[in-house]
């Protein structure tokens, strides 16, 4: 009896490995190998001349260049502002939308459809659409604002540094809110209604029961939303490429776009890899920090 049980377990283990292995091999090829190679490339001078790739080791030169590179520092600042604003705005707006749609008056299927559509729109198509909305001469935004008397002349929204960066932010927030809202909404729907009933019995109003019942229960979902949105906002690329190409005057050059430009326009693959590694390091540090700060503590610890 014990013999058959052992072989049964062994078989299950063997099949388990057989099931996992192909996926792991593919991931090693498309993720494991590239990330290791990316770190090595960052330590080399890699140039692409006439289609041939030339590599030579230069130690930490590429990373040292970062400190003297004003464009890199500008992009780092842009990215810090863009990502911080985006995470805060997206999570807050999404939380608001999710609460609205979880209200009995918000539970119509059509509202869910309104959320899923912006998620499914390709970022490039989204950028093209906003390029048209924000157009300086014929854009509908100028038309509406002038019609309402909020502006007295048409603005070139993507023409000045501060305005361009903030409009990229708006476009990306618009695109990002729906999915995060759906995620939080799924979390809200799992809050047991008995908890609300109990809070009501204890005399809690809507605001109190939101603060003391809803928020603590969906804490892990909020944590996931913050981590995901941070990762996503650090890799924003498509809208920069279509709307501004990093301009005006590098005001919208985010780190990811800069790494692309250095690598594939200036063909400086080693330096591009160094910037890419900086983005990776920042992403990882932030994710670890958030998980440590926001993840629900195990039972026993105080919330």
């Amino acid at each position: 009896m014990t013999v058959t049980a052992a072989t049964f377990e062994q078989r299950r283990r063997r099949v388990g490995l057989l099931f996992v292995l192909p996926a792991l091999l593919v991931l090693a090829a498309v993720l494991g190998y590239p990330i290791v190679d990316s770190i090595m490339l960052a330590l080399q001078r890699v140039t692409l001349t006439g289609g041939a790739i030339q590599q030579s080791w230069v130690g930490f030169d590429n990373f040292q260049r970062l400190f003297a590179d004003a464009t890199f520092q500008r992009a780092a600042l842009n990215t810090a502002y863009f990502s911080a604003m985006e995470v805060v705005l997206v999570v807050l707006i999404s939380l608001g939308v999710a609460v609205l749609l979880n209200h009995p008056m918000g539970r119509f299927g059509v509202f869910r459809i309104l959320l899923i559509v912006p998620w499914a729109i390709a970022p490039v198509a989204n950028a093209v659409l906003w390029k048209w909305i924000l157009h300086a001469n014929y854009g509908v935004l100028n038309g509406i604002l002038k019609g309402l008397g909020l502006i007295d002349h048409y603005h070139v929204w993507l023409g000045t540094p501060v305005s361009a960066l903030n409009f990229l932010l708006l476009v990306d927030v618009w695109k990002s809110v729906p999915f995060v809202a759906l995620l939080i909404l799924a979390g809200l729907q799992r809050v047991p209604s008995i908890l609300y009933r109990a809070a009501y019995m204890d005399g809690a109003g809507p605001v109190q029961s939101f603060l003391h019942v809803t928020l603590p229960t969906i804490r892990s979902v909020i944590a996931i939303a913050v981590v995901l949105q941070t990762i996503w906002s650090l890799r924003v690329f498509d809208i920069v490429f279509v709307l501004t190409r990093g301009g005006p005057a590098d005001a919208t050059a985010l780190l990811n776009f800069l790494a692309y430009r250095v690598t594939f326009n200036f063909l400086d693959l080693g330096y591009g890899s160094a910037i890419a590694n900086v983005i990776f390091a920042i992403t990882m540090l932030l994710a670890i920090l958030y998980v440590w700060l926001l993840w629900p503590r195990p039972a026993g610890a105080k919330r």
């Binding site: 049964f8 590239p34 008056m105």
Partner: protein, 282 residues
């Protein structure tokens, strides 16, 4: 006031909810409506101030002209379809067994492996794109839908594993026990018992992977040239070249997003539930 009434809130709260919903609808639907309306308006109607939205200004000309002018669009749709189908099919074929093993079978360090797979999604695309570009160039496989579809496994396979693992973790153990008692092996249990009850999450994972692959721009920009160009590239190029034919630009955008929007609307409940379950379980 009863609990049920109380959930709706007082008149003030209800007023705020209605106001919030109106703002929400305008904010979400406004740009999409304008996209569709713009694609249906004549150029003259579009650039007059305010835009002329009288019924006579509506036309299908933009669509006719875009389809006639941009042969690249048809090719792009075909390429996108191949890339997305290939990457979705391989993600499911490799991801479903892997997810099942990580959720259910005695794989050593299963939870660590699962977490590592998710953690790979922190890698910025640019970091892996540079080495992949070099490797694929050396292999002479730049500008191929299959190398692009293979690279898309870097994000689709992890997401499929996570969506499905979340579901498999929730299957009652009794079902598999009963199959084992009946003498079914692990393969048979997976194939005949587990997969058939997993159609909804499989569909969710498939739609998710398909939409992500269809919309992807960054890797496509780097890894394709001419013959393997996907739809997002064609749209970006079109928007760069024909900056002033706004209606056609919007028509091209509508054509490119329509298929995945239909998919997303049809499968909206499964997508969100699948994603949320995968993220919050385990």
């Amino acid at each position: 006031m009863s609990f049920a009434r109380r959930q709706h809130g007082g008149p003030l709260l209800r007023g705020l909810v209605v106001l919030g919903l109106v703002v929400f609808v305008v904010w979400s639907a406004g740009p999409v409506v304008w996209l569709i309306v713009s694609s249906l308006l004549e150029q003259q109607a579009l650039i007059s101030q305010p835009p002329d939205v009288s019924p006579s200004a509506f036309t299908l000309d933009n669509f006719v002209q875009v389809i006639a002018a941009a042969a690249a669009l048809g090719k792009g749709i075909l390429n996108s379809l191949m890339v997305a189908l290939f990457s979705t099919a391989v993600s499911l074929a490799l991801g479903a067994p892997a997810a099942y093993a990580l959720a259910r079978l005695p794989v050593p360090r299963a939870n660590n492996i699962a977490f590592l797979i998710l953690a790979t999604q922190m890698l910025p695309g640019i970091a892996i794109a540079i080495p992949l570009f070099i490797a694929i160039s050396k292999l002479g496989l730049i500008d191929s839908v299959f190398s692009l579809g293979f690279v898309y496994l870097s994000f689709n396979l992890p997401i499929v594993v996570w969506i499905l693992r979340g579901f498999f973790l929730g299957i009652p153990v009794g079902i598999e026990r009963a199959a084992a008692v009946d003498g079914a092996g692990v393969f048979a249990t997976f194939w005949h018992i587990v997969l058939p009850i997993s159609i909804p999450p499989l569909a969710a994972a498939a739609v998710f992977a398909f939409v992500e692959a269809w919309n992807e721009f960054f890797f496509a920009l780097i890894l394709t040239r001419q013959s393997a160009q996907t739809v997002p590239l064609v749209i970006a190029q079109f928007a760069g070249q024909y900056q002033t034919v706004f209606g056609q630009m919007m028509a091209a955008a509508v054509i490119s997003v329509a298929p995945v929007i239909v998919l997303a609307i049809v499968f909206r409940n499964q997508i969100v539930r699948g994603f949320a379950d995968g993220m919050t379980k385990g």
